[in-house]
Structures are given as C-alpha cells and as structure tokens.
Symmetry: C2
Subunit: 312 residues, 2 copies
C-alpha cells in the first residue's frame, strides 16, 4: 500500500481526497491543501480550501453549494449586514464558528497546521489534512478590472474579469508546513487531485523547494485532470488556460503544466483521443471516468489512482 501525499484545492480536490481517505489508513495519506485562497472576513481568518476538504472528509460539506456546511443557517450574517458589514462572502452560522475558533487559536499563537489538526480531531477526521504553509500566502489576481483578492475575483466578481497575472503574495518567504515537508520526505506516491492548476495547485508548487521535492518522490506521481471535454467541472480553470496561456483548455494543457513533475495523468474517457498527445509529453495517460458525482464515483476514481501508484 503506497504512502500517498495528495495536493488539493477546494471542491474537486476534496472529492478525490474523500475517495483516497476511504481506501487508505490514516498513516498512509497526507492531504496538503492550498491556502492562497485564505482571507479575512469580519476580522476572522477563513481558509476556504482547507475547510472544504475538512468538511468533505467529516461528512459535513454542503454538496449543493460546494462551500460551507450542510444545513447551515445565516442568522449571524444577516445581523452583520444589519450592522453595516459587507456580506457578499457567505458564511453560515456553523461555518462562522470554525472561523471564530481558528482566529482565536491563531491569535493565541498556534499555527494553522495545529489549528487544522485540532479541528480534524474534533470532527473525527483521522487522516492528515495540512495547510501547504503556516505562513500567510495570498493569491492576488491582476485583472482587466483591477487588482483584487482571490475571493473578490471568484465570489464577488464571479470569475468574470479577464485575468492577466496571478501573484502569490508572500510566497518567496514562505516555508512548507512541517507536516507537508515530512510527507514529501516519506511519501512514495504523489497524487495531484483534480483542482485548478493555476489557482489551487500552483500556489503549493510555488512554495520554495516544494516542486523539486515533489518531483523527487521516488514512485508514481500522478495527477487527475480537472478539465473534462474542454471544460472545468467547476470554477474558472478552463478560462484561465485561455487567459494565462498554456494552450487551449484541455487535458493536454494540464499535462503540459505537470510535465517534469508527474509520471501519469488520469484523463476522462471523453478525452481518450488526446492520450497520444499526453504520452508525447513524457506522461503516461490513464483513461478513467473522472466525473465524481457520488461517493462511489470518488472511491472508484481513488481506487484507479491507487492501482497506478502500486503498479506504476
């Protein structure tokens, strides 16, 4: 059984992480999560990608929205609005409690890694979910409508502005979180979940030393394409291929981004015809059903990924 280091952003990453966690024991999986999307709302530290992964593995995620907790209410947010606060970033009451708790623990001197581990334990999540770094890294989006935070781009402006450049503010001075570093030293398989290559995976790979360390993992290094039939399942990944270069939005573009890092790329059956182009980049294409609509889909895809990890 491989010792897996998985990289994840939000919804897509959380789905495959759920599948992996369903098949691997806790000591065989570390899910490293993007924190470039972290932001402060109402003075509270919000880690959207971490929370999506934690809620998903805890069985608390809201499947309809893709963010927040299931069956949450919005009384506090309504009252915040009444008090003059901006409330375009929707935070449910139960979700808000997590941000309140995290902010308090961070202010008391705990690291984001420690806080995340505590939250996982409270929620009964046994697998390690770790932030990519305990340092503050913020994805800044330079667009034709001005410079904005990731959440302003994604939530407030619905990913509509044309992106010119992404900057991961603070990344030069950032170090990987302790458990991320331990995992890359120990892992014998790397799994890049079907998350946005530009916004979710690139921040993780951009932490000084991370990409090289991951490329040195002695075993299968496999990514799952978040692009199916030229489209992203969710979010702006497809349009970012067009806006930031790297060719058209297809799994070949994904392969190009992970060339030199990954040994394998899982692509969807609808993209089977593109397999030779991926092979030509030195990456072995693996053809599977990659659309994860049910828990069974998640587990089946994870099973296929782990089979490659074991057999190469």
């Amino acid at each position: 059984m491989p010792d897996v280091l998985a990289l994840a952003g939000g919804v897509g990453g959380a789905k495959l992480a759920f599948g992996l966690a369903s098949l691997l024991p806790p000591d065989r999986l570390t899910v490293v999560v993007n924190t470039g999307d972290d932001d402060a709302f109402h003075g509270l530290h919000v880690s959207p990608d971490i929370d999506t992964v934690v809620y998903t593995l805890a069985g608390k995620a809201n499947r309809e929205t893709g963010w927040g907790r299931q069956q949450d209410t919005f009384a506090a947010l309504d009252a915040l609005s009444e008090l003059g606060a901006e409330t375009w970033f929707r935070l449910g009451d139960r979700d808000l409690a997590l941000h309140i708790r995290r902010t308090q623990l961070l202010r008391e001197g705990h690291t984001l890694s420690e806080v995340t581990r505590d939250v996982c334990q409270r929620f009964g999540v046994e697998h390690a979910i770790v932030p990519m770094s305990d340092n503050a890294i913020r994805t800044v989006v330079e667009t034709d409508q001005g410079v904005m935070s990731f959440q302003e781009y994604f939530v407030l402006h619905h990913s509509e502005p044309r992106v010119r450049r992404l900057v991961f503010k603070g990344i030069e001075r950032a170090t990987p979180s302790p458990w991320f570093e331990m995992a890359w030293q120990r892992a014998d398989a790397l799994v890049i979940c079907p998350s946005n290559p530009f916004l979710s995976v690139d921040p993780i790979l951009s932490i000084p030393g991370a990409r090289n360390a991951l490329a040195s993992i002695n075993g299968v290094r496999i990514a799952v394409s978040p692009i199916i039939g030229g489209k992203a399942v969710r979010g702006p990944a497809a349009k970012l291929f067009e806006q930031l270069g790297g060719g058209p939005a297809d799994c070949v573009g994904v392969a190009r981004r992970y060339a030199g890092l990954c040994t394998h790329l899982v692509i969807d059956r609808v993209d089977q015809a593109l397999a030779p182009q991926i092979a030509a980049l030195g990456i072995k294409p693996v053809v599977e059903n990659t659309l994860m609509q049910t828990d069974d889909d998640r587990i089946e895809l994870a099973r296929a990924v782990l089979a490659v990890c074991e057999t190469g």
Copy 2:
C-alpha cells in the same frame, strides 16, 4: 426639559433608560453604561451591559432571558461547542454578529465609544448610549471559591459563591469616555437607574474624577432603588448588601451608598415605611411603583423621575 445624564447597568438600567428615551429627545439624554462586565469570549469582545441597553432601546431585547436578542438562534454556539470551546456564556447567532463586528472595529483602532455609536445608528437608536470608559476595566470577584471574572461569578456560578471583595481592574488608570465627560459637564440632572449598586453603578462612580463630577451636577441627582421589599428584581444585589456590608438589603442601604451624591431616591410603595430613614440620611424619598413589567411601567417611572428633575 432637563438635560439628563443616566447611569445604567444591564436589565434594570435598560428598562428605565427605555422609559427616559421614550420621553426625552435625543439631545437631552446620555445613558452611561457600565463596562466592568465586559469580557472576551472566543476572542470576541462582549459588552453585556451596553448590549442590553442598546437592544432594549432598539426594541430587539429578549424579554424572557434578560440578555441577548429576541428570537435568536444558537447554531454557531453549538458548533463552537463541537469544536471544543467552552460555551456556558450563551451567545446567540445574531448577538454573536455584534461581537464579531465590535471586535473587528476595535482591532482596527476605533474606540468602544465609536463602535457603540455606530451600532446605535445602525439599529436606529438616536439617544446616546456611551460606555463609561474606553479603557479596559474588568470587574474581578474575590469569593470564597476563588477569584473569578464577573461573568464566571454571575453566569457560570449563578452568583452562588460568597463575595469577599470586588476589584475593578484597570480603574486607576482609566479615564471617562469623551461623551461621558461631556455629559457630566452639560447635564442638569443625574439619574441613577435601578441597577446593582455594587456591580453596575460603583464601577462607573469609581472612574477617577467621576463621582466628584457627578456630585457637582447642579440640579436634581436622583437614584431609583433596585431593591424592592428587601429583594432585587434580578441578580445578586440583595445578597451583596449582606456579603459586602452596608447593612441589610433594603432601600435604606441603597440610600446610604448614594449619600453625598444623590439628592433624591425613588423607593417602591411597598417600602414607604422606610421613607423617614432615607430622609434622615439627607436624601429626599420619592415613593412610586418601581417594578417595571411593561413598557408603560417603564415610561411611567421615567415620567415620575423626570417630574422630580424639573420640580426638584
């Protein structure tokens, strides 16, 4: 029409403040509120007495509990408990929003006075509700069961420990809030609402310079007894008379505490027989119905108080 400076703690003070605000225009009333009960929960700044007064004047107070907002929910608190936080101090979702907002604004450098004014404006409260000080003052309760914060004493331990001493931590270096100081310079009547003399009014009077300045208000200085027939309407006021000295818990004890400061004391009809003892202390007794169960009760008592302020 007098220019009234009113001192208030929580529930009882808020009721009379409501009556006064119903009768006086906004430029004729300043309600100065105790902040010794303020505390931090989950890293959020909570000002229970200010909030009780604000909610009461805004028509949002929960009349059943005496704290918090009407028809509030507790989803966030449940989730905080799930996350391992102590939740004996009950904070509703809508109430929590106020603490989140206040904490954010305080951290951004605004004073508690400014934050409170902003909250009042948002809630449509036109009368000035001001904290006694913008400095941190904390009521510490020394008891036979140890030293504890006011909220630990009052909420967690239900006022059961025997109180040996009250300390208003930080009071020596505290200054009155700007609007408190302006009000005492301008007012021609002082009204001490029926709040706990030890826990609610004494902190305000203990701010350096405050008691002398209030005693110098050139006009009627009238208190309303929070003790009716030897009992407090709510809270531990009666037992504090026994534990901290000052004689038995009755309106004569209240008069004794305000001797040298107040010219008048409103006592309840049930205490009419004690009027001569109050007069003997140099304070004019005023006999009224002081139990405020309805809005009309509040307004009628305020009307009686204001009549004394005008006629002396």
